[in-house]
């Protein structure tokens, strides 16, 4: 169970997140949509403390963090309970595909390296990249890099997986394979919070869609309500533009 209360983030004078309240049940797959610059990415980044929220509380699993008083230890605990898939993949450039996945297991979780290596190979097989285990990111296509990025986030076994526009930086030819992998992750009933512009994908896998505008969640509900029978005017306008 993920519980967010009053999450607020300001950059200078601009309020990017304006007191977000959000509950996500275990195994729920939530998609966030909305115009750019409305705080979707910031929401994800604040949940992982890549951006430090100014106020609010975040609970993931048994970790609860009060943003205003977060200690270093709490932040690490929160990050270890969540995993993050980046728009630009952000694979460790000095590590092979296998090592990218092992890194979190060995360095952060303290697993023995043989066990971690086995798990990394399993994950790579799941992502269809078993033959790329010893390739460095620079030698992989965008789609392959993002699949390793998702594999890295999967391997951690986090309570919550965060996807920040995982297909936006990809050439169109690679989008399909990344969405396929995300579908497989979703089928395992992994709790996911996904920012994306892929409306068809949202319709398929989301239990719930959130529409954000101006740092708030304006409308929320199952895809057939939010995407097919929108009530809010801004949401209607947004959907006309993207579909």
């Amino acid at each position: 169970m993920i519980l967010v209360r009053g999450l607020t983030k300001r950059f200078g004078q601009t309020t990017v997140l304006d007191g977000i309240d959000l509950e996500i049940a275990d195994g729920e797959r939530v998609v966030v949509i909305g115009p750019s610059g409305t705080g979707k990415s910031t929401l994800l980044r604040c949940l992982n403390f890549l951006d430090r929220p100014d106020a609010g509380t975040i609970s993931v699993g048994d970790v609860t963090v009060d943003a205003a008083r977060a200690t270093r230890r709490q932040i690490l605990a929160l990050r270890r309970a969540t995993s993050f898939v980046f728009q630009n993949y952000a694979l460790f450039a000095n590590k092979t595909a296998k090592q990218n996945i092992m890194e979190a297991l060995v360095t952060v979780r303290g697993r023995p390296s043989e066990e971690a290596a086995r798990q990394a190979l399993d994950v790579l097989a799941e992502t269809g990249l078993a033959d790329k285990a010893d390739s460095y990111p620079a030698a992989l296509s965008g789609g392959q890099q993002q699949r390793v990025g998702i594999g890295r986030a999967m391997a951690i076994g986090a309570d919550l997986m965060l996807f920040d526009e995982p297909t936006s930086a990809l050439d169109p030819e690679w989008v399909g394979e990344v969405l396929d992998l995300m579908r497989r992750v979703a089928e395992q009933r992994q709790t996911m919070l996904i920012v994306t512009h892929e409306m068809q994908f949202a319709r398929e896998i989301a239990d719930r869609v959130l529409f954000m505008d101006g740092g708030r969640i304006v409308e929320a509900g199952p895809p057939r309500d939010v995407l097919d029978a929108p009530r809010d005017e801004r949401l209607k306008r947004f959907l006309r533009r993207v579909t």
Binding site: L50, R79, F86, N94, T96, V108, Y136, A138
Partner: protein, 224 residues
């Protein structure tokens, strides 16, 4: 112009070669120590530990702002007069200390620049999986910064090898000191210093070849 005494020069080569190990030893030890110290200084400059920052800046400013020779004299002839536990310090140790401190100040700036050159997404990826600041630096940022800084650091290493010649002013008989002694015995200054110059040159050129291989090795992960 008198002809060069080639026989004397050839005879001098093995004599000076005998001191190459000491020269390389001083440079290698100082390089390792300087790398460690410079990395610490550079990381501090990037993350800015409150209360430590001004000290690090002062350190870097002093050791970049004063001549190496002055620093060596300060350590070897000066400091033991104020700090009695340094009274037994020998020339080799003082030279290694001086080279370490002097070059770590330069290298810290090179490494700092390289650290800031590592893509921001690499830091965020490390943070996102819950690495501590130390783990992130050691495992992700510094290795990538090392690759960026490598050519500059090799340059400093070359400077350092040549810098060991100043150790002769502290009474250390290394390549330069040995040559000086030989020359003052034979009075064939030109021949003697020409031989030692060529030997330094050969050492540095060998290193340049090594640098090319090092760069190929470091770029292995980044080849498309």
């Amino acid at each position: 112009m008198r002809p060069l005494d080639l026989d004397y020069m050839l005879g001098l080569v093995p004599v000076i070669l005998g001191y190459v190990p000491l020269t390389l030893f001083m440079a290698a030890v100082a390089m390792v120590c300087a790398l460690v110290l410079a990395s610490l200084l550079a990381v501090e400059r990037v993350i800015r530990v409150p209360g430590l920052d001004w000290l690090v800046m002062l350190f870097i400013s002093f050791f970049r702002g004063t001549p190496l020779l002055v620093q060596l004299f300060l350590f070897y002839y000066g400091l033991p007069q104020v700090l009695s536990f340094l009274a037994q310090i020998n020339g080799v140790t003082a030279a290694i200390m001086g080279l370490t401190l002097h070059f770590s100040a330069y290298m810290a700036e090179a490494i700092r620049a390289a650290i800031t050159g590592v893509d921001r997404s690499q830091w965020e990826a490390a943070q996102s999986i819950g690495m501590t600041q130390g783990q992130m630096m050691r495992r992700i940022v510094l290795p990538q910064a090392g690759r960026i800084a490598a050519p500059t650091l090799v340059n400093y290493f070359i400077d350092m090898i040549k810098g060991t010649s100043l150790a002769f002013t502290l009474g250390v008989t290394e390549m330069m000191g040995a040559t000086q002694k030989e020359a003052s015995g034979s009075f064939l200054y030109f021949e003697a210093f020409l031989v030692v110059a060529i030997l330094y040159w050969i050492i540095v050129e060998t290193l340049n070849q090594g640098q090319k291989r090092l760069e190929i090795y470091l770029n292995k992960a980044y080849a498309r």
